[in-house]
Symmetry: C2
Subunit: 146 residues, 2 copies
Amino acid sequence: MFKQLESDPLGERHPAREVLTRLKLNDAGLIPAIAQQHDTGEVLMLAWMNREALDETLATGQVCYYSRSRQALWRKGEQSGQVQRLHSLHIDCDGDTLLLKVDQTGPACHTGRRSCFYLQVERDTVVVTSDPEIDPETLYGKDRGQ
Amino acid sequence: MFKQLESDPLGERHPAREVLTRLKLNDAGLIPAIAQQHDTGEVLMLAWMNREALDETLATGQVCYYSRSRQALWRKGEQSGQVQRLHSLHIDCDGDTLLLKVDQTGPACHTGRRSCFYLQVERDTVVVTSDPEIDPETLYGKDRGQ
């Protein structure tokens, strides 16, 4: 399927169901999903979706992942209130990765930081590049999870 | 390790080796790496790195992935000339995903498109959102691989 789409010109359309059913999930039935703030371009996080999470995200416009640690659907922001509204959904050339352009309310990261990518390698050191915007205890209480 | 870093303030530094050795690779020894054009913010692709690919990337400043299909190091652009120069490397809060801000020469995608994410879901259809910048046969010859 994805091999066939490679030679399609700009603007060519296919029924979404035909394409989505051919996504290449991994052995655990999951596909990685990158979340990017739609207007600033900031990459916020990478999480995983199963088919049910993807279907729910497309149906509701509110991003839902699959939590590998909890082995359950993870409606982003359900506990913290820091939801992601889906702006647009993109599939890569191999059909094995999703890019979600989202509108993120507040911090995406469970540490209270805007982005999960707050550690930067600079030669021989790793530097913390942002502070939390909100105390994670405020977001999740003292028994905070992911 | 990554749990401990969560409460570190902006600007805190740790020896890179201590952090990098604790990255959480998957069962196959791989970690997903998102490539983003450093100045425009465009997400170009997602690929995988093993420890050797990461070490080489940091040592040379030229991005090297691990090709799961070829089961070998994949020096991006080796065949096509469309190299990625590493601008900065970022690690996420859980230590299980990398974000590479890169300077991509020409197209990142093996189809000749700038980004691999050229399929967009729009309600009931999937739309092709870009054309190749270069014919893939020019990049890879007729027997083109990834």
